[in-house]
Each structure stands twice: as C-alpha cells, then as structure tokens.
C-alpha cells in the first residue's frame, strides 16, 4: 500500500470516522460481541465495538476473555469473515413466472448497497484479494460480487495481538497491512491515551481523513505502531512453510495420513464455512405451490457434503478421506493452478472452528514427514 504520511485519530476521531462513513451512505460493518464471539455486524458508533475483549483460540477452542485494558481491536478474528458480506451465503439470482406456455425470467436486481468494512485484518485483505481473483479475474465474473466489491470502503486494522491458531507470517499475508485498504489503523497507547495511527491507501481514504479531526503522528507514535505489529508477528506460534507445499501434496495423494485424518474428520464442513477464501456455491430452485413461479438462489456449498460431487449414479467422493483431501489439496495446491495464488491466508479459522481440532499446519507436517520422494508424483 502506498503509504501516506501517518496521522493520529483519537477514539472520538474513530467515532467520527464511523459517523462520516454513515453520512456518506455506507452501511458500516465491523466487529461486535454477540453469542460469546466477536462477529461482524452493523456498527452505529464506537460503543458497538468489542471494547476490552480478546479471544483465546486453539485447535477446536474459542473463548472470549476480558482484557485488562480498553482496547477496541484487541482480538484477532472470529468465526465470520467478510465473505459473509461480499460473497453472501444466499444470493437471489432470478425469478421466472409462467403463464400458460409462456415463461418470463426476471434477473434479481444488482446490489446497490455500499458497505464500509471496519476492522479488516491483513490476512482478510489477502482473502478478499483471493476471492477477487476467483470471482472477478476469469472469463466470467460474478456480477453481484463485483458490484458489492467495487462499492466497498475498507478500513483495515493492523494486528496488535496474535491468535493461538494464526500463521499469517508463514503465508506472507500479515500481520502488517500492505495493500488493499482505503484506510489502515494501528491501535496504540500514547501518553496514557488510546489512539489510532492512521495511513491512507486510496484517494477515497484520503478524502475521508480530510473530514476527520486528526493530527500528524509523532516519530514516537509511528515507531510504536510499527513495534505493535512486530510484536504480534514475533508471537506467532504456528507456521505452514508454504513454498513447496503444492508439489508436496500433489506428490502424496495416496499418503496414509489421509486415512489418519479421515478417522478424525467429521466432514461437518465448518472449515469451509469459516474460511475467508472458500467460495464454492450451489443453486437451489424453489417454486410456488401451483408451479407458476420459480426462483433460483445461489448459496454457499461445501466440498465436505456428499451432494457436492454427485453425478448420476452417486457421488464421486464418498469417503471422508477423499473429501478432506479435496479440500486441503485445493486450498494449498491446485488453487495455484486454477487461480495463480494459494487459497490459504493463514488466518487459523479452520483450526479454531474444527470441532475435533484438526490443524491444517500439522497435517502438512505429517505428510511431509512420510513423503514420497521428489519427482515421484502419483500416477505419472
């Protein structure tokens, strides 16, 4: 991100930022505490943010805990990602009405809502960039995603803490915001006061900043903002050494570890729902009782279901072994061939929200340990 001169916002300044976005017609979405988790929801002002909360995460575990300060962004990421808003779980595609033998199809209106996403982490910016690659860069684009994406205003937040399941450093996707945000904030304490060091990454961001009460950041504040992120990076406990992973997995499609993980995997699909890049969808047709009206809806799908690979006669992937292998090899290996990027950003959600605590970084390590030799790709 082309760095602007850094400024400082107070908590009141952040409140003004939310207010100005709303004045400009944005629906502001940001972190909020609900059902014992930090989720992304509508934000009216700073009072809606998770002040003083943090999240404790480990494989299969997530707990909110009180911090001993009033940090507004003192947590990592929750069960939801921004795809809930940019690539929503349900999207109406069209309706058809039949009169006699005549059928008329009406497309669903394109979304007009302008979203401001507040509190987007670096890994999540990378996830959004990956969904852009998948849904916008091919021969066909998803028009609804494009409309929501182009209208969106992004306020990113640099991570000041590291979650128990984070591994963005090894994926080179964080924790420092490097691209894709209109505004990036770093929460620090200076002279006993909680403030936000702010950089802008776009003209839109700079224009908004001009409307906010702010001052230039001091050298000490800039240094502290840098140190906060460096501490988060240094504290990261997990890693997925990524460079040779695509080749490693494709060479080991019959590795015994797939049977091992199949003994644990419940094929519940949680990992695909919480993953910020998983993009798969299916369609459902519903019709009125008299059959004259039909509507088609797109909804999230998961490669862990049997239906996902169904062709006449049965599913292609009936075993949990094959479905876990499909998910993980897609995410870490074949995604590169399909879209020119990894499908993983190291956010750790699939580890945290797996009910049996399967850890993708651990599975890669286990496959590496019993790997077939290089150049010995299966089936060649």
């Amino acid at each position: 991100m082309a760095l602007s001169r850094q400024s400082v916002l107070t908590v009141d300044g952040l409140d003004a930022l939310i207010g100005k976005l709303r004045e400009r017609g944005y629906r502001v979405i940001g972190p909020s505490v609900r059902d014992h988790a930090i989720v992304y929801d509508d934000i009216g002002d700073v009072a809606d943010l998770p002040r003083g909360w943090t999240d404790e995460q480990d494989a299969g575990q997530y707990r909110l805990r009180r911090r001993d300060d009033d940090a507004l962004f003192g947590y990592v990421v929750g069960p939801q990602s921004w795809k809930k808003y940019l690539h929503p779980p349900h999207v109406a595609l069209w309706r058809a009405r039949r009169t006699g033998k005549d059928v008329r199809i009406e497309p669903a209106p394109e979304p007009t809502e302008r979203l401001a996403l507040l509190g987007v982490r670096s890994c999540e910016l990378h996830a959004i960039a990956i969904q852009d690659r998948v849904l916008l860069s091919g021969a066909h684009v998803d028009p609804g995603y494009r409309a929501r994406r182009e209208a969106a205003f992004i306020v990113a937040v640099n991570c000041g803490v590291t979650g128990g399941t984070c591994f963005c450093v090894s994926m080179r996707t964080g924790p420092k915001v490097d691209a894709g945000a209109d505004i990036a904030l770093t929460e620090i304490v200076t002279a006993g006061e909680r403030v936000f060091v702010l950089e802008t990454g776009s003209d839109k961001g700079a224009a908004l900043l001009a409307d906010l009460p702010h001052r230039w950041a001091s050298a000490a504040e800039i240094a502290e903002a840098k140190a906060v992120v460096a501490r988060a990076a240094a504290a990261m406990g997990r890693d997925l050494a990524a460079d040779d992973v695509p080749e490693l997995l494709l060479r080991n499609l019959e590795h015994p570890r797939w049977d091992d993980v199949a003994q644990r995997c419940l094929t519940c699909g949680n990992c695909t729902m919480v993953c910020p890049t998983c993009f798969c969808t299916t369609v459902e047709d519903t019709s009125s009782l008299d059959g004259t009206e039909t509507a088609r809806t797109q909804r999230w799908d998961s490669c862990f279901t049997m239906d996902f690979s169904y062709i006449h006669g049965g599913s292609v992937r009936t075993s949990s072994r094959s479905r876990y292998r499909q998910w993980m090899t897609h995410k870490l290996a074949t995604w590169h061939q399909q879209f020119g990027t990894s499908g993983c950003v190291g956010c750790g959600r699939c580890i945290t929200w797996c009910p049996v605590g399967i850890d993708i970084t651990e599975e890669v390590r286990a496959i590496r340990a019993g790997s077939r030799a290089e150049g010995d790709r299966h089936g060649d």
Binding site: L93, H140, D301, H312, S319, H378
Partner: protein, 272 residues
C-alpha cells in the same frame, strides 16, 4: 447465470428412458463446437449440464440444437417429459470441445460407451460432412444391451457408407443379436488406424474410458493423441462455483474434453 427461454420443437425417443430434445434457442448466431454442453433448466425443478448431441434444422429466425437426455434424476426426468412447445431454460454453450482441427489429416478413432455416444455425435457429423479432410474414421460403440443402442437408424445408415468403419458391441444379449458381445475395449485391437498418425476421441463411463485408453495405448497411440470427455458435477458452468474440480482443472472451463496426457495422473486415482 441468467438462462434464456428456449422451446422444445420435437422430442424423439432414442432408447430406454433416453430422449432427444430438438430445442429452438431463440438465438441465431451462437456458434457451437462438437463436445460442448449447455445448462438446461426445467422450471421449478432445477438445472443440469447436457451435451449437445447435434444441430437441428435451424432457420433464419432461430437456431435449433439437439440434446439427448437420460431420465435418471428429477431434473433430467422433467426435461425428458417436455413436449413440443414447452419452455425450458438454456445457458451456453460452454466448455472446450473435441479437437476437430487437430484431427485433420489423421485417422480418427472414436470410442463411445452408452450415452457417451451423444456428445460424440456432433463430432461424427463434423467428420462426415467434410470427409475428405480426414484419414480412416472408425466408430467403436459399446452398450449394455441391443435395446440401449442410441441413434440406431443413423448408425445403420452410416454403416452402409463405405468411408466409415462402425463396430457395435453389447455387454449381454439374447439370441436375436448377431453382433459383437463384450466390452468395447476388445474392439480397439481390430480397428484399422495408423497409430503414428491417428487421434482418438473417447466418451463414456470413467471406468470404460480408463480401460479404453489402455487398449489405445497398447495399439500404439501416444498419450497426447487421446482425448476424453470428463464428467463432474456442474452448477455454474463458468468456473465460479467450484463443483466440477478435477484435480487442478475445472471441467467446465478446462474441459469437458481433455487431452489424456494432461489428466493421466488423475484418471488413475479414485475419488478425485
């Protein structure tokens, strides 16, 4: 993702539970390639990918496309019930078709299993319409029983021609059948083609394609001259929904027709 409203003009039974729909697309200028498919919607039921099985008698007002459907699920059964004048939704055509340009000047061996003949039929029409461009043309076709033979009258008409070899085999038959009995792979060894200058087009159940490819390789064809049509679940047909993944490929975008040397490792794997 928005289908257009198309209309069935004619419906012909082509086998047990198999129907060929002659569909007026309402468009005039959509080019189709042999081996491509359309997404067909039975309104209120759902949408499925169906390969083109031929071109109908297009007029200046509208293009006509043939689709051959076996009624095996709710959507295909609903499509198979449509009669003349009935509306259906149509999106397409999608996908990479058979390598007709690469076939020029070479012997062409076509191996079809069951309903796999349907997506190969436009390729046969293409070859026969411009017969001089190609070497020997051979069709090897296997079905379960004589009753399952698709496009029977057309096959019989082709068989009267002297410029195409056609062999049909069935898995099992009663005494009234005087043709071959056995799997289609057994026909490959007797087919007349020059393996140094031939191309093979294969479509059928995956297991049939695996064994057919073995037979073609035994006969001397190299992996880069064998093409197959891969089947996977499809929802969007435009590379956005993730359903049709086949290893690193998306079948809707990179297929359905794929060159064997590019998917060799995948075809040997189960549940991929």
């Amino acid at each position: 993702m928005l289908p257009r409203v198309a209309r069935v003009r004619r419906r012909r039974r082509d086998g047990p539970q198999v129907w060929t729909l002659d569909i007026e697309t309402g468009e005039t200028d959509t080019a189709t390639l042999p081996g491509q498919f359309n997404m067909l919607t039975a309104f209120g039921i759902g949408e499925v990918p169906i390969s083109l099985s031929g071109l109908g008698e297009s007029s200046a007002a509208s293009q006509r496309l043939l689709h051959t459907v076996r009624a095996v699920g709710p959507v295909s059964a609903a499509l198979a019930r449509l009669g003349p004048g009935d509306a259906l939704g149509l999106r397409g055509p999608f996908g990479v078709g058979w390598p007709m340009a690469a076939a020029a000047g070479r012997d062409v061996v076509i191996v079809a299993g069951g309903l796999g003949l349907a997506p190969l039929r436009p390729a046969l029409h293409h070859l026969l319409a411009d017969r001089g461009r190609y070497g020997n043309v051979t069709l090897l076709y296997g079905t379960r029983s004589p009753d399952d033979i698709l496009f029977r009258r057309e096959l019989e008409a082709w068989r009267r021609r002297l410029d195409i070899d056609i062999e049909v085999t069935v898995d099992h038959a009663r005494s009234g059948w005087h043709g071959h009995v056995g799997v289609v792979t057994t026909l490959v060894a007797h087919a007349s083609f020059d393996p140094q200058n031939a191309i093979a087009l294969v479509c059928g159940p995956e297991v049939m394609m695996r064994f057919t490819i073995n037979a073609l390789r035994d006969a001397g064809l190299t992996d880069d001259t064998i093409y197959l049509s891969v089947e996977r679940n499809m929802k969007c047909a435009v590379g956005l929904c993730g359903h049709c993944q086949y290893g690193p490929t998306l079948v809707c975008r990179d297929g359905p027709v794929m060159r064997y040397d590019r998917v060799r490792g995948l075809l040997a794997l189960k549940e991929i």
